[in-house]
Each structure stands twice: as C-alpha cells, then as structure tokens.
Symmetry: C2
Subunit: 161 residues, 2 copies
DNA sequence: TGCTAATAATTAGCATACAAATCATTTAAG
DNA sequence: CTTAAATGATTTGTATGCTAATTATTAGCA
C-alpha cells in the first residue's frame, strides 16, 4: 500500500479505535454506578432539564425517540424516573427524576467528569491543539456532505454550559 | 468559559459530530451495498486477510469475538463467507470469502469507506497530517487511560457507535 | 362541524456489542 | 498417562440504536 493510502487507512483505523474505546469505557461506567452509560447520560440530562418531554430528551441526547423510550423503560423499571402524561396535551409525556434518581445524581457527581476529559486535560497544550485542529478539519470535510437528519431535529450540537 | 475549557468542549463536540456523520454514512453504505456497515467492514477485512481465524478477525476489527460470531452468522446466511474448522487444531474456525463475497468486494470497493476517504483525499497533505496526528494522540490517551478503569467516560460523549 | 394532516410516544423487528457461561479441544503438570 | 488448566468458538442474556408501523391526540382547514 502506498504511504498515501497507509495514512488514510490509519486515520480510519484510529477513528474506529476511538469509537470502540469510547464505547467500551461507557460499559465500565456501569460497574461503578450500577447503571449503563446511556442511562446515566439520560439521568444527568433529566436532572438538568426536568421536567422534560420525551422528544426533547431525545433531542438533547442526539438519539432517536425510540431509543430513548427503551432507556426510559429500564430507568422506570428501576424507579429512577417517572413518566407523567400531560393533561393539556395528552400526547405528551413528561419525565422527572424520582427521589431515588435524584439521590443517584447526588451520589455520583464525579461520574460526569469523564475519562476523555481527564485525559485531555493531562495533555500538553500543544497536543491538545493538534487534536482540536485535526478534528476541526475532519468535521469540515465531513460536514460538507452531511445529510440533513430526518426525524430528529437539527442535531446542531450545542456546547455544554 | 475560559479558553481552556472552550477548547476541550470543542474537541468533545467535534468528536460527537464525527461520530454522527460517520454513523450516518455507514447507514448510507448499507443502502447501496445491501449489507450493514459492520458486515461490510468484516467482509473487507476478510478479503484482505483471508483465510483468517475468528479470534484474529475480532482483533483486527477491535470487536469482541461474540460480536463477530453474530456478524459471521449473518454473512454466512447470505452465503458471503464460509466457515471451515481447522483439521490441525479443531478448536479453530477459519473464515474465507465465497465467490459471492469476493464479487461483492469487487463490485463495492469504495462503499466501505467512501465518504470519509473521498473527503480525506481532497484535503491537502498538510491537513491530513494534522488529522492523523490528532487522532493518534487521542488513541494514545484513550489507550493509556484504559488501564485504570476507575474513572469513567463522560456520558455526554457516549454517542452511538 | 367533520375530515385530514401533523405530532407525540410507543411497539415491533433487526443488527450491533459485550460479559459470562458453555462446549470442545489442546496443552501442560505431575 | 491422567488430570487440570488454557484456548477458541459459540451460546445466552442484556442493552443499545435504528427504521417502520401503530396508536392516540391535536391542529388545520374546507
């Protein structure tokens, strides 16, 4: 393989690696907090925005509503969240944290900190710059061909507060 | 927000963006080739390394063997790959492409990585270098951090595969 | 008013993905 | 040589994640 293609292949391999590792670590979160990464992510989002509609939660999490429903099913089964059908618009279901859910958020605040952030913070300013710049290029070239999402609202990604 | 945190937030946001776009692209590939992204990835890997053992394939793909078994089941059901139990070590199963599988690889060579590769190829050598380097750092810090599974991933980053 | 379109949540069906347990086989220890 | 440990693939069970279809409700309009 020519060095040019080697370089491309490396980029793609590394992207996959990042995906895998990020995925893998989210599974490890389960062991220390008792719930899975996505569930924890949902809980955290709900704790910040509650009461929140299912569709808004899905939007907040960049996930499909159908996926969120499944996560909510499991959280509700553990009595961490509550579902309430709105009286003004009976199509709408609003989600809240139960006491148990709030307790979980209180008890595991550091969970939100995250491995990636911790790792990035330890890096030198220069390396962080390189990572940031490289990703920016990547987003640029990908963004050109990005397909407008259908069901989910604009996945316009907001910077965390 | 201080510039330092701004930088971190940007990195994480861009990662999310990349995840999403690549994810969508993988679905596009599915529609044009008839098989899913992971299946295509497996086919491509097999075509490069065949005959290959199941565990080696899993390693190549950064996936758990159990996951690969499922993918192989579906590929075998479509008669795209063949499983052969080794005669020298009867625990080992080696995977090969069927004629149909080879034909698919011939017919859809670029589908697997099309969007990414096409975009990357258009970039200047300089920018490509920056992307490659940045990802390498990223993989490094993720790899290093993987050892102590104490802290966990920021759920915000745990975007779908 | 009454019919149709749009919206919100859910369900059903499929494909990843992993950990843990299992089965068969091979290797190593005594 | 016999048994215990290790290895390779698979099975089982749980959790994502998506699309498409369904149900219930609301909004829009003739």
């Amino acid at each position: 393989m020519e060095p040019e293609n080697r370089e491309l292949a490396d980029i793609i391999d590394n992207l996959r690696r990042v995906f895998q590792v990020v995925n893998e670590h989210s599974k490890k979160a389960e062991k220390s907090s008792g719930i899975t990464g996505p569930q924890l992510w949902a809980i955290k989002t709900i704790s910040e925005k509650a009461p929140i509609r299912v569709s808004d939660l899905a939007h907040q999490m960049y996930l499909h509503p159908a996926t969120v429903v499944g996560i909510l099913d499991r959280l509700e089964a553990r009595e961490l969240v509550t579902r309430t059908r709105s009286s003004t618009d009976r199509r709408v279901v609003t989600i809240d944290l139960s006491e148990k859910g709030k307790e979980l958020v209180r008890r595991a605040p550091e969970v939100a900190q995250g491995l990636l952030v911790a790792g990035l913070e330890k890096l030198s300013r220069e390396k962080r710059k390189v990572i940031g710049e490289g990703l920016r290029y990547l987003v640029d070239i990908l963004g050109v061909q990005e397909i407008p999402p259908k069901l989910m609202r604009s996945p316009e990604i907001n910077t965390p507060e």
